[in-house]
């Protein structure tokens, strides 16, 4: 049932990609996020195009903002965007730019592009939902390993860990793009702040699915999705 829809949708993604022009400057970054984005929107997130304003929806925050082709393609495959919108993306007047703008695209939870903003916004969303008694919605924040250089991430990681925000999940895409690297792995930076962590193959959708759906009571979870270079397209 769901699997059929899933397979059909996944196979349509290349065509949706083709509708966007070939001047994408962050193609590698875009494709590194695709398995994660697809797994979330296809099998994990409790959200739909009809419920983009439902306060009890799950939220996905693309913190790094760069390389949004995969994001737009998934949003189009899932009905948040009319696929024809992809044809003239980044044109003046198009709602789709090289960095997403939540005001222009229903279903896009945050406007992003400058690195290191999504995690604190996600922490605030979890706190805001909790304050309103909404304990069901989950908040997912996708960060990149290069983005992780920004100190603002580490303020938010420490805070979320100490507050034990178990409705928060960070997906850290590690494709080795940080100039100075993360010795010991990105997961250790979360673990030391009390997060539940797991490191998986970033192209293994089954592993991602389990990482996104396992319970982590009393603690936020960090899923480090490793993308090895040979996977590059």
């Amino acid at each position: 049932m769901t699997q059929g829809i899933s397979r059909r949708g996944w196979s349509e993604l290349p065509d949706l990609f083709k509708r966007m022009t070939g001047d994408e400057k962050h193609e590698w970054a875009a494709t590194s996020t695709l398995p994660t984005l697809w797994t979330l929107y296809d099998r994990v997130l409790d959200v739909s195009p009809e419920r983009v304003d439902d306060p009890d929806r799950d939220r996905f925050l693309l913190s790094k903002g760069h390389g949004p082709m995969a994001y737009y393609a998934v949003l189009a495959a899932k009905g948040f965007l009319d696929p024809s919108t992809l044809d003239n993306w980044t044109d003046f007047g198009s709602p789709l730019g090289q960095h997403p703008d939540r005001v222009l695209v229903p279903g896009v939870e945050i406007s992003a592009g400058s690195l290191g903003h999504g995690l604190a916004l996600g922490v605030g969303q979890v706190l805001g939902l909790r304050a309103q008694g909404r304990t069901k919605p989950r908040v997912f924040v996708l960060v990149g390993d290069g983005e992780f250089d920004e100190g603002s991430n580490h303020e938010a990681i420490a805070l979320a860990g100490r507050l034990g925000l178990d409705r928060l999940t960070v997906v850290a895409i590690d494709n080795g793009s940080a100039s100075h690297g993360w010795p010991g792995g990105m997961a250790s930076r979360f673990a030391v702040e009390g997060w539940d962590t797991v490191t998986v193959d970033g192209r293994d959708q089954e592993a991602l699915y389990h990482a996104f759906t396992e319970e982590h009571p009393g603690r936020p979870r960090a899923v480090v999705a490793m993308i090895r270079e040979e996977g590059a397209e």
Binding site: P55, D101, R102, V103, E109, I110, S111, S114, G116, H117, L119, A120, L121, G122, V123, G124, Q125, V126, L127, G128, L129, R130, A131, Q132, R134, G151, S152, E155, A156, A158, L159
Partner: protein
């Protein structure tokens, strides 16, 4: 000295001098939280202890993030995205300057509202030095669209401005100070005429009013008062100016911050403008008192009298 010690000492110093605007802010927000479930408070250690009562009554809506100002504004944006009415608060440079990109992006670019409430003003307590001074705060916020900026001159003005702001959903910057005038004036849209004269119009912003009144007691000028500089009351200024086009702007922050607003208001009126405020030309590497710094910037009554009389002739 650790950062925590330092913040603690800042708090002590403030409590021992003049806490009235800050106390009014804390009381007003604490009371409003009881009746408005949208209101949330975000602090970064500074003043966190003053929200103990609010936290005990509304533990889920009072968040202290520690000494993490970028996270403070990011969390504020996240709270607003879920429909709450967040109030973020710290010392001026740590609220406005340090997390400025978060203010630009996590509030404005997300198209959400919030109330930012600062204490410390330009140089309320100069013994702390340049790190605790932020005369450029209003100019910085003024680079961003959609902000209302209040610079109250009395604690009673704080109460009314804040009550209105808490009921809204827009972006509001409320700049508190330990400097204040002897009495409050009505808040709301528009400048308040305090004195009428013939040789020019002096616009006194917030806590500068008493010094302006003292400086102009023997000068034949109109004095307008305002605690709200954005939006700027263009029509009120035009009405007061009439055909007498000598305008003096006295602001308790960076000199000339509102000069462009005067230019816009009087675009069709030939006019002269003298903009007074905290000097832009050099960093004042001195401690001492706020009054001594006023004198350096010509914002004390004697300095204002000298500048204004020379300008209006």
């Amino acid at each position: 000295m650790t950062a925590a010690d330092f913040h603690g000492k800042t708090e002590l110093a403030l409590m021992s001098s003049d806490v009235t605007m800050r106390e009014t802010f804390i009381e007003t927000v604490t009371a409003a939280m009881d009746t408005d479930p949208r209101i949330a408070v975000v602090t970064a250690d500074i003043s966190a202890g003053n929200f103990t009562e609010a936290r005990s009554r509304h533990p889920e809506r009072v968040v202290n993030v520690g000494i993490r100002e970028q996270a403070m504004i990011g969390v504020t944006g996240g709270l607003a995205l879920t429909g709450l009415r967040p109030v973020a608060h710290s010392y001026t440079p740590f609220l406005i300057e340090r997390p400025f990109e978060q203010i630009k992006l996590d509030l404005g670019h997300q198209d959400v509202g919030a109330i930012l409430v600062s204490i410390g003003a330009s140089y309320d307590d100069p013994v702390w030095g340049r790190t605790h001074q932020a005369p450029g705060d209003v100019a910085l916020i003024d680079t961003l669209p959609g902000w209302t900026i209040h610079v109250p001159g009395h604690q009673d003005e704080v109460r009314s401005l804040l009550t209105t702001a808490l009921a809204g959903d827009d972006r509001v910057y409320l700049r508190l100070s330990t400097r204040r005038n002897a009495r409050a004036y009505p808040t709301g849209a528009g400048f308040t005429p305090v004195r009428l004269g013939n040789k020019g119009v002096v616009v006194a912003v917030g806590p500068t009013l008493d010094a302006v009144l003292a400086a102009t007691s023997t000068v034949d000028v109109t004095v307008l008062y305002t605690a709200t500089v954005r939006p700027f009351d263009h029509a009120g200024l035009r009405d007061a100016v009439g055909s007498n086009a000598n305008v003096v702007l006295v602001e308790p922050y960076l000199q000339g911050t509102s000069a462009h607003e005067v230019t816009t208001a009087l675009a069709d009126t030939p006019h002269r403008l003298l903009a007074l405020g905290v000097g832009r030309d050099s960093e004042v590497r001195a401690y001492g008192t706020a009054e001594q710094h006023d004198a350096v910037h010509g914002l004390d009554p004697a300095g204002l009298h000298h500048s204004i009389t020379r300008f209006v002739g």
